[in-house]
Chain length 151, copies 2
Amino acid sequence: MPDTVNIPGEKLAALEEALKAAGLRLTHQRLEIYRELLAATDHPSAECLYQRLRRRIPTLSLDTVYRTLATLAAHGLINRVETLESQARFEATSGRHHHLICRKCGKIADFQWPDIDSAALPQEISEWGRIDLKNVVIHGICRTCLERREK
Amino acid sequence: MPDTVNIPGEKLAALEEALKAAGLRLTHQRLEIYRELLAATDHPSAECLYQRLRRRIPTLSLDTVYRTLATLAAHGLINRVETLESQARFEATSGRHHHLICRKCGKIADFQWPDIDSAALPQEISEWGRIDLKNVVIHGICRTCLERREK
DNA sequence: CTTGATGCAAATAGTTTGCAGGCTC
DNA sequence: GAGCCTGCAAACTATTTGCATCAAG
């Protein structure tokens, strides 16, 4: 099993470029945090990322995870995902997608819905202001939790 | 100017019924907090509701606002609105609607989008589990903030 | 070398909880 | 009158910040 996550080079190049453009340094921690987020599919919280990374980088501190997540989010490399929980969750920025959230176990899954992506917004919206992002959030109970409940 | 907010009786009846069904009491505080939320259009935070209600009920405590919001939310009378901010925001449960969030001032507006409400979800979703709620969240910058920025 | 980034520890913000007295049913 | 609800204060959780040190460019 590899000790570090291996990730498409283009994404890492984007990280390096975005950081450089903002006059920020490409540090070991930033690289690893971003890598971990690229590899993760479960929209981890800061705390959760910290636990995973600690195995590889024992000296890493939770503060740095928070600071790095804020930095990366500010530069559009990652997204803060809005949930109803108190803990913030994160994902690496990637193609257009939407979220399924289980209200029981809190798991977040992605799904595609091209029909919505291309659908025209209601007329009234254009008067509200400038639209940056259109996202569908679906709440429900995932299959695993449903089956657990039946027992 | 009226000292208390006046609200359609049906909503209040729903509150009374829902509380009674759960074996909970209809207290002055719960009534007023729910009334305030029914009247509000700006999805206020707990702190914000507290400030508004204090004028009418000087003895009200912030803790009670939090506790009451949790109670009402647990019984489906109000919704916690998910935002990217750290503060939770609330709205009285009402007809199907979606949210516009200004990333500058944090204002949340409602809008209708019947096409989405009636649109069929992608096939894959049904395999995920049970769907309770389908919500569109739009992020952008509201007109007021756009104009302020131009100056 | 220089300056921004990190780790540590302490501070904050928002929210929750334990307890004693008050109010609804 | 009995027990849930409230207000008060203190506890908690997630996140942020000040400062001395470290490392990337």
